[in-house]
């Protein structure tokens, strides 16, 4: 599903969004909204032992 998930930080403030790279290489931004299906998948991905990376 995801090859990486990173936090988004602007002006030293962490946004309520996550930068996701899907397995096919597509880069998208996912809101930390429990009703967003990609965020639900990220939570499941983390529960499987994966880690959300710090922002670049």
């Amino acid at each position: 599903m995801f090859s990486s998930v990173k936090k988004i930080v602007l002006d030293k403030i962490e946004m309520k969004m996550l930068r996701v790279t899907f397995l096919d290489g597509k880069i998208s931004d996912v809101p930390k909204d429990d009703n967003n299906r990609h965020y639900q998948e990220i939570l499941a991905w983390v529960a499987d032992g994966n880690t959300i990376e710090e922002a670049d």
């Binding site: 599903m1 988004i8 602007l10 002006d11 946004m15 309520k16 969004m17 930068r19 996701v20 397995l23 290489g25 597509k26 880069i27 998208s28 931004d29 996912v30 809101p31 909204d33 009703n35 967003n36 299906r37 990609h38």
Partner: protein, 403 residues
């Protein structure tokens, strides 16, 4: 209308006058008394007319769960199935579904077969989901619970028993109905009745409510018990008992269109007519779940020509920001993907846009600093912008709030 055709008899008795002197129906749909309590069809895009993401995607199989072509209709898989499909928005020019008023259909073309022996719990389905707040009109979980009618046109290479399942996502309850495809590769209209469920109110809110599953094929783990034809706790081994394997040959195709979900029990003769919407109305309803800045008919991708007119404003010469208002309020905060336009750039191109400065187009990364159901705000940081200046950008975007 000729005077001789005016239904004077019914006018005098107070009954519903019938054009051309016919006999008024006494059940189901009657002229002027549509039994539906909604002005719009419950199913969005049931005629498969809108296909914003693409009109054809190949290689859909293990790991390919998601929305690929037809808006609102999702492919789901489970437990490493081997079957691979091409999913297409098919144009119809003949056949029973076309003659019934449909010009588009969802087509699943099996390109890699699977005899379903590899894993008991493999699964491929096509699914539609409603929001909970749009579902309580069935009064599920109350003593007044309504029955359900699911109707659709299907054409399949595989004849025999097929399964359609209703699931209550809020309470993990389910009910399945078997139907028969009688003639290979021929459009057939199916009208399926599901019982009422007095247990498990679906509730409100914008998360998944009622789901309709059409089984393509499954392993023995989904077919080990008697098909669950009454509402009850979802039982994996009773979901698709008897389902033929639509993936057992690369010669197999499976097509679907004209999907209706109606309140109450209808037969093929009493079923209310399909509620056709204009393409524009249909598109707006679909955009609650997915919107793109690309032209309709263009598959979202990097390097596609954009209007080159979006403006980012820079306040410090380092960063620049723009805001986009969505055409339609989204179901929830969407996933946002930005695609660079055609002017410059390389690689996948998602998460970047082209900006003009120093007399040339330059490709830089963008991030979404905010997204809610109404708009999105994007920021680019390059260090090359001009303080208190606007910079034209070359980009497209998609916003995905699907269930």
């Amino acid at each position: 209308m000729a005077l001789s055709k005016i239904d004077v008899a019914n006018m005098l008795t107070g009954a519903t006058p019938v054009a051309n002197g016919g006999t008024a129906l006494t059940s189901g749909f009657k002229n002027g008394t549509d039994p539906r309590p909604t002005s719009k069809p419950i199913i969005v895009n049931g005629n498969m007319a809108v296909s914003q993401r693409s009109t054809s995607v190949t290689g859909i199989g293990n790991g390919g769960e998601g929305y690929h072509t037809i808006d609102r209709f999702k492919f789901e898989e489970g437990n490493t199935p081997s079957a691979v499909w091409t999913m297409t928005q098919e144009s119809l020019t003949s056949g029973n579904a076309y003659n019934a008023g449909f010009t588009k259909a969802l087509k699943m073309d099996c390109t890699t077969s699977d005899d379903a022996s590899g894993h008991a719990n493999i699964l491929n389905v096509v699914k539609y989901a409603t929001e909970r707040q749009d579902t309580h009109l069935f009064k599920k979980g109350t003593s007044n619970a309504e029955k359900y009618t699911v109707a659709f046109w299907i054409k399949a290479t595989k004849t025999g028993t097929h399964i359609c399942e209703l699931r209550d996502n809020a309470n993990d309850r389910a009910c399945s109905v078997a139907y028969t495809v009688s003639t290979t590769n021929t459009w057939e209209h199916k009208v399926l009745n599901f019982p009422a469920d007095t247990t498990g109110a679906i509730g409100t809110g914008n998360s998944k409510g009622l789901e309709i599953y059409w089984s393509l094929y499954s392993g023995s783990g989904y077919q080990g018990a008697t098909l669950q034809t009454a509402w009850g706790g979802a039982s994996t081994n009773a979901r698709y008992t008897g389902q033929v394997n639509n993936a057992d040959s690369t010669s197999n195709n499976w097509h679907l269109t004209g999907v209706q979900l109606e309140i109450g029990e209808f037969s093929s003769t009493t079923l209310p007519p399909f509620q056709h919407e204009s393409y524009g109305d249909n598109l707006i309803r679909c955009q609650r779940y997915y919107e793109k800045s690309f032209e309709q008919g263009t598959t979202p991708a990097a390097g596609v020509s954009a209007p080159d007119g979006r403006v980012f404003g820079s306040w410090d010469g380092q960063s620049a920001r723009t805001e986009i208002d969505f055409n339609t309020t989204k179901r929830a905060s969407p996933t946002v993907t930005v695609y660079r336009g055609a002017n410059t750039g390389s690689g996948t191109g998602t998460g970047t846009a082209n900006f003009i400065y120093s007399g040339a187009w330059n490709n830089h990364g963008t991030v979404t600093n905010h997204a809610d159901d109404s708009h999105v705000s994007l920021t680019a940081t390059t260090g090359n912008f001009t303080t208190n200046a606007a910079h034209v950008a070359d980009m497209n975007f998609t916003a995905d709030a699907e269930l």
